[in-house]
Subunit: 553 residues, 2 copies
Amino acid sequence: MPPTLLSRPSQLTLSRRLPFTSRLARSSVLTSPSFSCSSRTPLQKSYRKAYSSSSPPSSRFGPSYLSEDIRQHQARKMAPQLDGYFEQVDSLSDHFIERLRQAVAIPSISSEAARRPDVVRMGHFLADELKKLGASVELRELGPQPGTDLTLPPCVLARYGNDKNKRTILVYGHYDVQPAEKSDGWDTEPFELTVKEDGRMLGRGSTDDKGPVLGWLNAIEAHQKAGIDFPVNLLMCFEGMEEYGSEGLDDLINEEGKKYFADADAVCISDNYWLGTEKPCLTYGLRGCNYYSVEVSGPGADLHSGVFGGTAQEPMTDLVRILASLVDTDGKIQIKGIMEQVAPVTKEEETLYDGIAFTMETLQESLGSKTTIFEDKKATLMARWRYPSLSVHGVEGAFSAPGAKTVIPAKVIGKFSIRTVPDMDIDKTNEAVYKHVNDFFKTLNSKNTMKVYAQHTGKWWVASPNHWNFSAAAKATERVWGVKPDFTREGGSIPVTLTFEQATGKNVLLLPMGSSTDGAHSINEKLDKKNYIEGIKLLGAYLHYVAEEPTNE
Amino acid sequence: MPPTLLSRPSQLTLSRRLPFTSRLARSSVLTSPSFSCSSRTPLQKSYRKAYSSSSPPSSRFGPSYLSEDIRQHQARKMAPQLDGYFEQVDSLSDHFIERLRQAVAIPSISSEAARRPDVVRMGHFLADELKKLGASVELRELGPQPGTDLTLPPCVLARYGNDKNKRTILVYGHYDVQPAEKSDGWDTEPFELTVKEDGRMLGRGSTDDKGPVLGWLNAIEAHQKAGIDFPVNLLMCFEGMEEYGSEGLDDLINEEGKKYFADADAVCISDNYWLGTEKPCLTYGLRGCNYYSVEVSGPGADLHSGVFGGTAQEPMTDLVRILASLVDTDGKIQIKGIMEQVAPVTKEEETLYDGIAFTMETLQESLGSKTTIFEDKKATLMARWRYPSLSVHGVEGAFSAPGAKTVIPAKVIGKFSIRTVPDMDIDKTNEAVYKHVNDFFKTLNSKNTMKVYAQHTGKWWVASPNHWNFSAAAKATERVWGVKPDFTREGGSIPVTLTFEQATGKNVLLLPMGSSTDGAHSINEKLDKKNYIEGIKLLGAYLHYVAEEPTNE
C-alpha cells in the first residue's frame, strides 16, 4: 500500500473502530430540518402496499406501477428541480431498457478465459456510450492477468463535469458478470434480456451490476434531455474483473486515489440489494471474503476405479474428509481461531435488529425453501451481517456431469470461502485455516499431496452512516420511494469499497438499486423494471441532495 | 429373468460357488500333453526382455519388435496351420492400424446425449465392415433409453460361418467409449489415433474396446487373405452402451440366449488388460460395480454465499459430510454390512498370489505415483481381486470449473461406487448403503432433503478356469507370446460377462489384448502396436486351438 494512503490514519481508524451500535443510533440525525415530514407516517405505513395491483392505473402523476401514495409524494414539489428530471426518466424508460438489453447481450464473464474478448467488448461499449454523453473517457489497461496468458480487461475511467463550484462524486460499478448457461436451469436465454409482464427483466448482469452501472449513464442523459443542470461533477470507475476478485483494480485505485480521483468529495457504489423486496435501504457495512483452495493429488492421471479401487489412496477420499471438517449443518465454523476474532455483541447492538424491515417470510421467498438455520429475524440478521460464515462451493477435477463415470480423479481441488466480519484479520484468518487443514490432513496419514492456499482475500468494511453522503442519500430515497430507508449492513463482499475508502480517504456509501429476490449469481437473475427506472431517479436525486447537503465530516 | 435361463442351475451354481482356491489350483491341468514344453524355462525367463531394444532387428521370422526367443518360438511349427495366418497378419498390419484409426475417429461416447449420433455411426461402421467380410449382420434396435428422450444405439449381432461340424464361439465387445476432451490433459487429440515411434497408439477407445473388437474382424480378414479355413463358426455381439451400464443389453442377451446365441459352445470377451506390461493372462473373475448417487437439495436456486452464508443450511455442507463417512484414506469401507458379506480367505488361497507376474513397480508405473495403500504384491492383488472397494467420483451441481465462484449450490449430487466381490449380494449391499447414508444424514439434523439411490448395479463374476475354453486360450497364448499366461481375476467390472454366462449356460473366458499401462478411461489412452498386432494373432490362434481342444465340461 503506498504511503499516501495512510495520510488520514485517524479518520480511517475511527471509521473502522466505531462500535457497531453508536453509529446506527446516530442515524437519527438524518432527519434534516429542511425536509418536509408532514406525510411521513401514512407513507411509512403504506410502503408495503405501494406496488399492489389494486393501485388505480389512471392517476395523474408518474408511471402506473407506482401506488397513488408514492405518485402524490413524488408530485409534492419538495425538491422542485427534480420534477423535470423524473418526468424525463419516465419518458426515456423504453430507451433505458433497450440500453440494458444491449449490455446484457454481451456475455462479459470475467472468470472464463474464452469470454475475455466479450468482457473487453463490454468495456468498449460503456466507453462509447459515455463518450456520446459528452464524458471524457479513458480505457485504462491493467496489464497481464497473473498466472494466465490473458490480458486483464480495461478499467473504464470517466469524468462528467469539471466545475470547481460543485461537489465531485466518485461512483464505481462493474461491467463483468458471473458465468451463466441456459442449461444451468434458466427459464430464458441468460444473455437475452427478457422483460416479463410483471416487470421482471431477466438476464445475467441485469441487476449485478449492469443495471446500476447504466443507471449513472441514464441519469446523465435524462438531465441533458430535460435541460437540467447536472448538480455535481461525476467521476466514474467501472471495472471488468469484479466477479473474479477485481484483479488489477486495487493498484489502479491506490495509484489514482490522489490523482484521477483526487477531487472526489465522497464515493457512491450501487452494487448491492435491498434487504427485502419493498423497502429501500442504505448500506454502511459489508463482510469480507477469503476464498480458499485445497488441492489433493496422488496418481499421475485419472484412474479406472475397478483396476485401482482398493489399492491406491484416492485424493477425493481425503478431500471430502477435509471439506467435511470445516463447518457443520448449522453453519458453525469448526476451525479454531475464527470465531475467537469476532467482535463481541454489545447490549446496545442487541436492540438494533427489531426495527429493520425484514421478515423470515421474505428471506424464505428469496431462499426458495424453509431451510434456514434460524427461525427468527434477529439471529438471521446477525448471522448475515456480523458473524462469519463458511460455504463449500465445489470441487474442481472430479466428475461433475450427469450420469455415472467410474473414474478415480487424480487431482481434486476443493473450493470454500469464509465471509469475514469485524475484528477478523486476513492474515490471522488465513493462518487459522491453513493450520486447521494441515493438522487435519496429518491425521489422515495419507500419502497423497495436499496444498491449501487462499485464491483471494478481502477485508470486511464498516463506514460511518451519519456522514452527509448518507443523509443526502436518505433524503433522495424518501423523495423517490416515499419512505425513509433502513440503514443496513450486508453479508456479501464488495472488496473495492474498502479500497476506495483507503485510497481516497472519503466516506463511501452503498446505494442499492435492486431488491433481495433479484438472484445475483443465480439462475434467472433479474432486475425489476420499477427498481431500474425508479433507481435511475434515485441516483439522480441523490446527486441533487448531495450537492446541497451541509458538510458534517 | 426368463425361466429358460435357469435350465442349467447346477452348472451355474457350481461355477459361482467353487471356492476361490480350488479353481486356481486346478489351472495346472491347462498344461496339455500335446503341447511342446521343451523351451518353457528359457522362455519364461526371457519374456521380461522380450521387447527390449537390443533384440536383433534382422531376424528371419516375425516382425522386428519381437525378441529372438519369441520369433523362434513362433517359427517352431507347433501349430503349423497358424503360420500362414501369422504371416498374413504381419503383412496386413498397416491396414489393421488404418481400420483402428477410422474407428477411433468416431467419438462414440455413450454417456453424452449429444454424441449419440456418433455412437450409432460407429455401430453402422462395424456392421459395414463385417458385411464386407461376408458376415451376416443385424443391427438390433434396443428401443428408447429409459429416463431420456434418446434412442439406444443398436447392438451389432453378426455370424461368420455356419458349419455344423465346427464349434461355435460367441464373442462380445463394445464400440462405445468413455468421454474425452483434449482439455482434460491429453497430449494428442483423443479422437485422432496417433502412432508414436515407440509403438504406442494413442486415442480414446484404442484399447477399450475398439482395438479388441476390430481384432475379431481382422482375424477373419487375415484368414481369408491367407486362404486358411476359418476354424470355428463365430457369433459376434458388439454393443454401444457399455460405458453407460450396458443399458438395454441384458434383455437382448437373455432373449437371444437360446435363439441367436443358441449354438454357442463357449464365450470369449476381449475387454480387459494384462496385469502388467509384459506377461499375458487369462481372466476368470471380475468384481461387480454398484454405482450410487446421494442427492442433497434445499434452496430453490443457487444462492450468493455473501447474502445467504450463515443463514441457510447448505446442501454441499451435508453432502461432503456424507461422502466423508463412506471410506477412509486406506480404502477401508465404513459402511456396516459390506465387509461382513465378503467370502473368507482360505489357507490355500493365501499361497496363490506369489506366482503371479505382478510387481509393485509396475503398479506404481501405471499409477504414476507411490500412493499405494499396501507395500506388498499379495495384499495389493487381494485388494484388487477379492475385496470390495469404494471410490468417490465427484459432485454434480457444485462449482467445478477453475477459478473462484462464490455460489452456494442449491442441489448437489455426490457420486460413488462400490466394487463388489464374492459373496456380496446386490440387494443386501444396496440396503447397507441406504441404511448407512440415511442414518448418517439423520445425525446431521438437517432441514435439507436427501435421497440416496443406485444408478446401476452389477454382480461380480467368477468362472471355471479349467474349462477347455481356457486351456485352448492358454495354448494360443503360449503359441503367440512364448509364455504360459497367468490366471488372474480383475478388479474392474464387465457386467455382461455374467449375463452371457447365465443366458447361454456356457463357460466365459476373458482374453485380454492390451496391457496394464493402456489407461482405459484415462487421458492418453493407448494400445501398443505389438499388443494390437500380436493380439490379432492371439484371437485367431485361440479359435484354432478351441476348435481342436477336447471337451472337458
